[in-house]
């Protein structure tokens, strides 16, 4: 008796909060572009620690002692629906190995394009520029970009880092179907990964003038036992002079990648 009471209370609270959020999402109607589409133009940024680890995690020391607190990992409540990524057993073992070797294996270390959805929650802003037939998303990190095709869907001719993006409008929501990935990107610095069978469906829904709700459904039968979903708010960068800066990190990783191949001065 006592037990059922204690579990019932939080459930009620959860339902109440959920319905409020749903009401807000349904009532907000975004301003329109000149051609009548929800206006997502702007510079946006996630404000969370998903890039460190999508799943709930405590703070911990980073892999390089010399960086001290600067290089340590901030905690995060997690952005995965249900809390856990549904790995197949062999894939879970690989994720753990990735984590152990993250300093050498994480593609972010080498300034490689981050893939989707990781590009969205890197700790850098990105800009949406909306035209009629294409929606451009330019990311500050590594001068990466995606041109989302809003016309007849295009089949990816080959695999790529950022995949092929085909978009459509569902009411207030921009839905982007992304396929044609290579297997070289990760989802975060914790070693969460995928295969070339990755299929991502993103949903960008304005919930106020300053916030987009971002959801990504991730499907990859070679790595996960079922599709799973992440969600997070994306915040408008409100600084009056806000613009994307240049972050061309290739130059910053040349020593790391090619330093051992430099000519050593003869002694």
């Amino acid at each position: 008796m006592k037990q059922s009471k204690t579990t019932a209370v939080p459930r009620l609270v959860a339902i109440a909060i959920f319905s409020v959020v749903v009401c807000q999402a349904q009532t907000y109607r975004a301003p329109r572009t000149a051609d009548g589409k929800p206006n997502l133009n702007g510079i946006w940024q996630a404000m969370n620690t998903a890039n460190w680890d999508l799943q709930p995690h405590a703070a911990e020391a980073g892999p390089i002692a010399a960086l001290g607190a600067i290089g340590s990992v901030p905690a995060g409540l997690g952005v995965v629906e249900g809390g856990t990524i549904p790995y197949l057993p062999a894939a879970l073992a690989k994720k753990k190995e990735n984590y152990a070797k993250r300093l050498t294996l994480d593609p972010e270390v080498k300034c490689y394009m981050p893939g989707v959805p990781r590009a969205t929650y890197m700790p850098f802003p990105f800009q949406i520029i909306q035209s009629q037939n294409k929606i451009l998303i330019a990311y500050e990190y590594a001068s990466t970009e995606r041109l989302i095709n809003m016309g007849k869907p295009i089949v990816p001719p080959d695999s790529s880092w950022m995949g092929m993006s085909n978009g459509r409008w569902e009411g207030e929501t921009l839905v982007v179907d992304v396929t044609g990935f290579n297997e070289d990107t990760w989802f975060d610095r914790a070693g969460d990964f995928h295969s070339e069978s990755l299929h991502v469906v993103e949903r960008y829904t304005p919930v106020s003038a300053e916030v987009l709700n971002y959801e990504a459904t991730i499907e990859d039968p070679k790595v996960f036992s079922r599709p799973w979903k992440i969600s997070m708010p994306l915040y408008r960068r409100a600084e009056k002079n806000m613009q994307l800066s240049e972050f061309k990190c290739v130059e910053f990783v040349e020593e790391l990648m090619y330093g051992h191949l430099r000519k050593q001065s003869s002694k």
Binding site: N41, I129, A138, P157, V250, L261
Partner: protein, 327 residues
């Protein structure tokens, strides 16, 4: 304090822009396409429409052949006679490494927006003005730095090979050996230019705001644009001191003004004025006619697949080891 500084920067920038624009306007543009009934369309928010996939590939040299003197344009007949001759593919050294047809390097197959210019550089001179003493010194110093060290490390290779920036991205956007495809996307208050090579998007603000702090120096500069009738005028400053133009190391004072005018359904007149008093004795201007490129922009993962850099450096180290062993 801050407010005063901002105002000062705005005024200086717009005055400068005005003077350069006048000198560019005084130059003759390439004769427009013959579709006289054509008028430029507009985006839903009212900007003249430059959107689409374009190429700035050209067969016209940057500098005019000296034998042509002040002749800025060929006649239609001269052009027809030249076009009738077989075109040579690009440099024979490339033939050893690439399937020219596959990579679009075979200029006998290429599609180019046609115009009658004898050189990209406009005006009677048709050539870059002389280098200043500071410019000559910088060029000589850079050559001396690299000479004999070409394979010592990545910083001795050119920026394109390092996958940092491509010539085609600019600004100014100069065609390179192959793949000069770019896409222009316009949204309210912005024009964006996405370059396929090395992958790079330049976002041009149209809101009349001043350039970013002169303390911030970048590979691609800071671009601000505005419309003058149907012409998009883009002013770019804030370059770093490592930028080069066509392998010429320019200074951080380089100031580029570009003018994009859609001249037909399949052409954009792209003019740019180069002003770098630390490099050239006076500003100079050039025009490239961009044509539509069929298809779309794909991902070009340059750095991610830069095996050449690793192979080149490791080969050089191996050769040194072999040479040392023979001694």
């Amino acid at each position: 304090m801050n407010h005063k500084l901002c105002t000062l920067i705005t005024v200086t920038a717009s005055l400068f822009l005005g003077s350069v624009a006048v000198s560019a306007q005084a130059l003759k543009p390439a004769p427009a396409a013959k579709t006289s009934t054509w008028t430029v369309g507009h985006t839903p928010d009212g900007q003249p429409d430059l959107q689409g996939t374009w190429t700035n590939a050209t067969l016209i040299p940057l500098e005019r052949n000296k034998t042509l003197g002040a002749k800025e344009f060929y006649t239609e007949q001269e052009k027809a006679e030249m076009d009738a001759k077989p075109r040579k593919p690009v440099g024979s050294a490339l033939v050893q490494h690439y399937d020219l047809a596959q990579f679009g390097l075979d200029r006998t197959q290429g599609k180019f927006a046609q115009n009658l210019r004898t050189s990209l550089i406009m005006g009677p001179e048709g050539r870059m003005p002389p280098f200043t003493a500071a410019g000559q010194k910088r060029i000589a110093d850079e050559r001396a730095r690299v000479k004999g060290h070409e394979f010592d490390g990545p910083e001795y290779r050119n920026l394109g090979e390092r996958c940092i920036v491509n010539n085609a991205a600019g600004p100014p956007m100069m065609p390179s050996g192959y793949n000069n495809d770019l896409e222009i996307v316009q949204g309210p208050g912005y024009v964006a230019i996405t370059q396929e090579m090395i992958h790079d998007t330049r976002i041009i603000r149209l809101d009349g705001s001043p350039h970013i702090s002169p303390e911030i120096r970048t590979w691609r500069g800071d671009s601000r644009g505005h419309w003058e009738g149907n012409t998009l005028v883009v002013d770019t400053t804030n370059f770093n001191d490592k930028v080069s133009f066509n392998r010429i190391p320019v200074s951080r004072d380089m100031h580029v003004v570009e003018r994009f005018t859609r001249t037909g359904p399949d052409t954009i007149s792209y003019q740019f004025t180069m002003d770098d008093p630390q490099t050239w004795e006076k500003p100079w201007a050039a025009e490239i006619v961009m044509g539509t490129a069929p298809g779309q922009i794909y991902e070009y993962a340059c750095h991610e697949a830069n095996h050449s850099m690793e192979n080149l450096l490791s080969s050089a180290r191996n050769l040194e080891k072999e040479a040392a062993a023979k001694k």
